[in-house]
């Protein structure tokens, strides 16, 4: 078996590697810090910085290299077997799950992880560290005269009733390129048929597709877009706090709750230091910093679950299903058919 693994590894290594696009890189910590490890993450640096700063302040002997990339790129990077990072963070739960299922994660146990609720960890290899409601974001100005959508069906009706307002002014993730977006869409599809109907309606309106929540929020804030569907809740709240035009809507029929996850790659050489950081991240103090200074809701934040009809996305092997080649192809075909008309 190991023989096969070695062959596979060689093949992966020799194969023309689609190298990852690094969006941003920053080093945290003292100049002379001897212990340095790398975090590969899809989360914005600004949101994560407070936690990292707090950690390196307490541990002057440690430095952290923070590498920002898209969730899909992160997946490819780790799947290729190149061992260059010591902690992998992503909001694409399904991609993370697949990486762990395929054996890329190392096990990590500590008193902190033992204290995590069961739904926030898998196999003591994959750990959730922040929760995210997936929300609808609307432009206040556009919706000044319109009722606030209470459900997807309602939203659907509003759109259909006001075609002029919404033509080319709706936005959502391009699930072809965004792993996060793909996850949101597939989870939506699980919940009800209404998603497909909404998708068709949105498609008929000429919905614009985006790579990321940040872009969508900017467009809504500027008023270019009237609404953005399936936006990451914390980003939306952060923006809404700063700018008056953004209104966050939790649709009452259901609200998917995303879990941001992290794992330590099996081949990491700095797994101990990564583990120490992970412990800090998961500790109460770390969670408080993450939430209050980073704006990422803590897993211990009970108010999230109190959102009406909150539907946490389960951290389990079900997430593998939509990554299946045939299933994915099938889904994408249908999704594209609906939204790209």
């Amino acid at each position: 078996m190991r023989f096969t693994v070695i062959i596979a590894a060689l093949i992966c290594w020799c194969a023309p590697a689609a190298s990852m696009t690094i969006e941003l890189e920053r080093r945290f910590g003292a100049e002379q810090a001897k212990e340095e490890f790398a975090i590969l993450s899809s989360t914005d640096i600004e949101l994560f910085a407070p936690v990292i700063e707090a950690f390196v302040a307490a541990r002057p002997d440690v430095a952290i290299q923070y590498v920002l990339a898209s969730s899909r790129d992160i997946y490819s990077e780790i799947d290729s077997g190149r061992a260059r990072h010591d902690l992998v963070i992503s909001s694409a739960m399904d991609l993370q799950m697949k990486l762990v299922n395929d054996g890329h994660a190392g096990s990590f146990e500590s008193p902190v992880t033992a204290g995590l609720p069961d739904w926030a960890k898998w196999r003591n290899q994959l750990f959730g560290f922040a929760v995210e409601p997936i929300v609808l974001v609307v432009s206040r100005r556009d919706f000044a005269a319109l009722p606030t959508p209470t459900s997807r069906r309602h939203f659907l009706d509003i759109i259909r009733s006001n075609p002029a307002m919404f033509r080319d002014r709706l936005m959502t993730y391009d699930v072809n390129i965004s792993g996060t977006g793909f996850l949101f869409a597939t989870q939506d599809a699980r919940q009800s048929d209404t998603f497909w109907r909404l998708s068709e309606v949105m498609g008929s309106m000429g919905t614009r597709l985006s790579c990321c929540s940040g872009e969508m929020l900017a467009r809504v804030e500027s008023g270019e877009m009237a609404a953005a569907y399936n936006v990451v809740g914390s980003y939306a709240q952060a923006r809404a706090a700063k700018h008056g035009n953004i209104k966050v809507v939790h649709l009452e029929d259901y609200t998917n709750i995303l879990l941001r996850t992290a794992f330590i790659p099996r081949r990491s050489l700095k797994s101990r230091q990564a583990g120490e950081f992970l412990d800090f991240l998961l500790s109460r103090r770390g969670q408080v910093i993450l939430e209050q200074q980073g704006g990422l809701p803590s897993i211990f934040n009970s108010s999230i679950v109190e959102i009406t009809n909150a539907k946490p996305i389960g951290l389990n092997t079900g997430l593998l299903v939509y990554l299946d080649r045939l299933k994915r192809e099938n889904f994408l075909r249908e999704w594209n058919a609906a939204l790209v008309q």
Partner: protein, 462 residues
Amino acid sequence: MTRTSPARLSLRNRLLVILAILVAIFSLVLFVSMRTLAGQTVSAAQDGLLKAAAVSILEKVRISDGALFFDLPYDTFTILGSIGEDRIFYRIDANSTFLTGYEDLPISDSYGDERTPAFASIDYLGEILRVAAIEKPVLVEGRSIRIRVLIGQTSNFQAQLLSQLTENLLVIVVSFCLFAGLLAVLTVNSMLNPIRRLADAVGRRGPNDLRRVDHPTPQELAPLMTALNDFIARLNGALKQTEIFIAEAAHHIRTPLATVKSEGELALRKARKPENRAHLRNIVRSVEQANRSATQLLDHAIVLYRMEQPERRTVGVLQCVNDMVSSFAPSAELRDIEITVDSDISAGLELYLDQTLLETALRNLLDNALKYSDAETTISISLNASPDRCRISVRNRPATMIEIDPDLMIKRFSRGANATNVVGSGLGLAIVREVMMALGGTLDIDFEEGGSLCASLSLSRR
């Protein structure tokens, strides 16, 4: 003691050890078999789960416009991995063409059908997977294609379940062991109880009790009991022989002793020279001492005999005392010693006991008192009765005013400090005590104010 008895083997320990071993073996067997059963059950459970998953995947195969469509069931995958957080691996092939899943997952040698999948344990990526393989033929554009589904998961689920079962099993088995152990101890104890009770019963016997042992005992101990009783009988017989021999010997000694004594006395009367007189005196004194010893040996033999075979009858105590006093009176009178009897009980007080024993005790007491008293003194005997006891006290003033240790007086063959010139063998009081033990009473010796010695016999009236 002999060297034949081996290192102390304890029945109890032996039984306990055997039982302990049995319990241990049984527990082990129980544990192993149940764990195996549990393992099989868990395996079966996992297999069942895998089968259900494979079947549900196969169910979602659709054929539309000559193309195969797969709709992997989300919930199946969720459930499959949820229990033990197991990793899931699968592949779907059509005939021998890989369709989707993990391409490097090895194809199964055999595929079962929906009713009986083929199960196997394989090695994949360094882990042991349990896989289920099912195939189903479908018709696509007139061609029959075999859809092959292989689905497997790691054994965390199994391992977890099994470890939990093992834990529980361990608790059960250990509890069983403890309980069985306790039961074993109780059983062994109760089994050995008859032996202990028998030992107690025999142990409680008095020092001279050589009766048959008639304690109710279990069947298994019957041979031991028979042997024991035979042994006791033989011992008894041997003892009796010895006693008879002693009695006879003592009896036969007395007559020649008496002869020597009387000849000696006669010679003394005739002798004039002081040294001859001295020699004769010595001879007579020695003979008297020997005679006393012989008498007391005989008394001792009588007491032993009577202890075993008492001849009990109703005895008038006052009458008995008076008769004894009458028979001592002439000798007492020779030295002007007066014996008085004073009683607070009526002549009618009766005790049910062996009269000879009582007389022996009284005789020895009086003899002792007489021996150790000076001429012209009084020996007073008093009788007192209370509702449950009768007391006979003999008081005299010992010849020398030295403090006498009552216990020393009683120990066989030792003599009081004032015995220097007075002949005696020291057996007297020991015999009285023996008699009192046989009669179930007590002998007390006290010094009273005024210097008199009081020896009391105390008997129960019931």
